[in-house]
């Protein structure tokens, strides 16, 4: 069964360092998302991406964050200068249809755990 894959599964970094989290969405999907979950808290929306541009972003997704689809298969989240509060599990998701449709469901990866020291 097709699945969303994320790498690395766990990354430890020093505060101020740049981090890139990678995702391979399901191959025929067109809509891509990043969410994050701080330990013990809600799953929070960060950004959605379609047709090579950001569709929507949350207040969390400030200038320190960026997303890119560098080729036909990868979708990356970059954090330019990590802070302690960026420590969280980051989930990538994809969907084949728009969420406005009645078949738009999200397929999530297993997440990348980021620990900022």
């Amino acid at each position: 069964e097709p699945e969303v894959t994320q790498t690395p599964s766990h990354q430890v970094t020093q505060m101020g360092q740049e981090v890139i989290l990678r995702c391979v969405p399901i191959s025929n999907h067109l809509y891509f998302y990043w969410y994050r979950q701080i330990l013990g808290q809600k799953v929070e929306f960060l950004v959605s991406f379609y047709n090579n541009e950001i569709s929507e972003k949350s207040e969390i997704f400030d200038d320190q964050f960026s997303v890119e689809r560098p080729d036909g298969s990868n979708f990356t989240l970059k954090i330019r200068s990590t802070k302690l509060e960026d420590s969280a599990m980051y989930f990538c998701a994809s969907s084949s249809e728009s969420l406005a449709s009645n078949t738009g469901e999200l397929f999530f990866g297993e997440g990348s755990r980021l620990t900022v020291l």
Binding site: V4, K42, S55, S98, L106, G111
Partner: protein, 111 residues
């Protein structure tokens, strides 16, 4: 943006019993989705119910939707220990480009 509010926050039952979780939301919707998250794992889509549907079944899952009350419920019948997880409802998050998740219901099924 809109998110679903799940109730109860936590539910503990014995294996074989049924579990019912409720969701309320604020604005009109065209569909509502339910997801499950096992501890530390990614969310898994369970079921989508359209606004013109009142009830939908998928295996041991039964979802109802009452658009007049802006509420939905998820019933898991004959629960198993493997059903232990957090369950989230996701109405469209106020836009066509995101789903917004609430705090969920933490279901514990005791063997």
């Amino acid at each position: 943006s809109q998110q679903g509010e799940e109730d109860p926050q936590a539910l503990s039952i014995q294996e074989g019993e049924n579990a019912t979780m409720n969701c309320s939301y604020k604005t009109s919707i065209n569909n509502l989705q339910w997801y499950r998250q096992n501890s530390g794992r990614g969310l898994v889509h369970l079921i989508l119910i359209r606004s013109n549907e009142r009830e939908k079944h998928s295996g041991r899952l039964r979802v109802t939707l009452d658009t007049s009350k802006k509420s939905s419920s998820l019933l898991i019948t004959a629960s198993r220990a493997a059903d232990t997880a957090s369950y989230f409802c996701a109405p469209p998050g106020g836009s066509n480009y995101k789903l917004t998740f609430g705090k969920g219901t933490l279901l514990t099924v005791n063997p």
